[in-house]
C-alpha cells in the first residue's frame, strides 16, 4: 500500500505548496477544465450559446463547490460554516474565468491544461486579498 501511495506524493507535495485556497481553486479548475475539454472532444469543437454557457457555468460551479465542501468536511474534518462563502466565490470565479477564456479564444480543447493552473492562481490570489470573505483560512 505504501508503494502505491508513493506515486501520488509529487502531487500531494504540490498541494502542500499551494495551500488550502490554491488547492480549492485547482480542484475547481480540474473539474471545469477537464469536463469542457472532454465535451469538446466528444463534440468535435464546442460552440455553445449564451444560455448553454450559463447552464454549464451554474452546473459546474454547484458541482465543484459541493464536492469541495464534501472533501473539506468528510475528509478534512473542517467546520464548513466559515468556508461556505469563500469557497463558493473561489469556485465560481475559477469556473467563470475558464469558460470565458475557452469561449473567447475557442480553446476548449486546452481547458484541461490551463484550468487547474488558473484555478490555483485564483485561489492563491484570493487568499492574499485582505478581504475576509474571500479567504478560505
Amino acid at each position: 500500500m505504501a508503494f502505491l501511495l508513493k506515486f501520488f506524493e509529487p502531487m500531494s507535495s504540490l498541494g502542500r505548496r499551494l495551500g488550502l485556497c490554491g488547492m480549492i481553486g485547482a480542484i475547481a479548475g480540474m473539474i471545469a477544465g477537464g469536463s469542457l475539454s472532454l465535451i469538446d472532444f466528444m463534440h468535435g469543437g464546442l460552440a455553445p450559446t449564451q444560455e448553454e454557457l450559463l447552464y454549464v457555468f451554474l452546473t459546474l460551479t454547484v458541482f465543484a463547490w459541493a464536492l469541495i465542501l464534501f472533501i473539506l468536511y468528510a475528509f478534512g474534518r473542517l467546520r464548513i460554516g466559515p468556508l461556505l462563502l469563500p469557497s463558493l466565490f473561489n469556485v465560481a470565479l475559477v469556473v467563470a474565468l475558464i469558460l470565458l477564456i475557452s469561449d473567447m479564444f475557442s480553446v476548449y480543447n486546452l481547458a484541461w491544461i490551463f484550468g487547474p493552473v488558473i484555478g490555483a492562481l485564483i485561489g492563491i490570489l484570493l487568499c492574499k486579498l485582505p478581504i475576509r470573505i474571500f479567504r478560505v483560512k
Partner: protein, 314 residues
Amino acid sequence: MACIDRPPRCDSGDVDTTPITDVFGGLGFVYLIITVVLGIAGFYGELKVAGETLFIGSTAIGTGVVVGGISGIISAAVVLYTVITFAADRCNKVSGSRQCVAGVISHIENSFSSTLDDLLPFTAMHDRVDLIVKSDYWDIVESNQAFVFCTDDPIPRRSEILRCYYYDRRVCEAANGAATGAAVAAVPAVLAAAAMGALIGCTTIIFCVLAIIVAALVAAAVVLAGAAIGGHAAKGEDQNPMDDDGSLILVGDLIAATGNMLRREHDNSANVFWWTEATTVHGSITDTAPRPFSYCEVNDELPLDGCMLPRPVP
C-alpha cells in the same frame, strides 16, 4: 512552584490541510494519467468521434458511455485512493523517540464518537487524550521545531498540550476493511457510472455536463458505500483508553504517560504520542483547581510523577 516565568512557545491554530492535500494528490495524479492517455491516443489518431460514437481503433463506443466511464474512473480512483490513504495513516506505526511526560487530562476524544465515524468508518481516529503537561516537559513538546498546541488561557496560565493517541485496533480494522470494500466496489462503480453516461447520453453540451456529473456522483457513492460496508464489517468491539491497571482514564486525572513521540503532519506537525504505550494514574486534580486546567496547578499537585526517561537537550 506554580506558574513559571518562561512563556510557552504556542503556535496559532491554523487548519490542518493534510487530509485535503492527500485527496488533491490522488485527484491530480489520476487527472494527469487520464489526460495523458487520452492525449497520446488522440495524437496518434486512435480516437475518432463520428456523431454519437467514439471509435477507439476499430471499436465503437457511445460517447455517453465514454464520458460516464471516464468520469466514473476518475471519481472511483480518487475515492479509493483517499480511503487507502486514511488506512495507511491510521495503521502505520512510525518509529519516533520514546518519551515520558506527566500532566492533567484536559480532554478525551474517543474513537467512533461522531456520526461521520459511523457513516465513513475509515475516517475515525484512535482515542486521543489531550494532556496539559507540567512545565518540566515543555522542552519535549517543543522539540524538533514542532507545532505546539496550547490552552486559550492568558500568560502565565497558558499551558502546552501534548496529544496522546491510544491505539484502538477497531480504527485500523475499520480502515483496512474500508479499503478492501472500496477496492471491491471500484469496478461496479465504474460500470454503473458508464451506464449512467449511456442513459443520459452526450448529444448536447447540457446532457454531456449532466452525464459527467451524475456518473462521478454515482461512482463516488458506490465506492463510498463499499468502504462503509467493509469498514463496518471489519470493525470489532468498543474499547476506551485505559491505564496500566485496566481502569478507564478520565478528564482531570493526573497521569504520567510513556509513548512513541513523533511529529505528525495530520496534527499540524505537532509532536504527539503515536501511540501511548504506558499510563500511570497519580490521582485526580483537586476540585478547587480553576477550570480550564493549567500547568500551574499540575506543577504543584504532581511534583513526583515517576518519569525516569532522559530529557532532550533544549
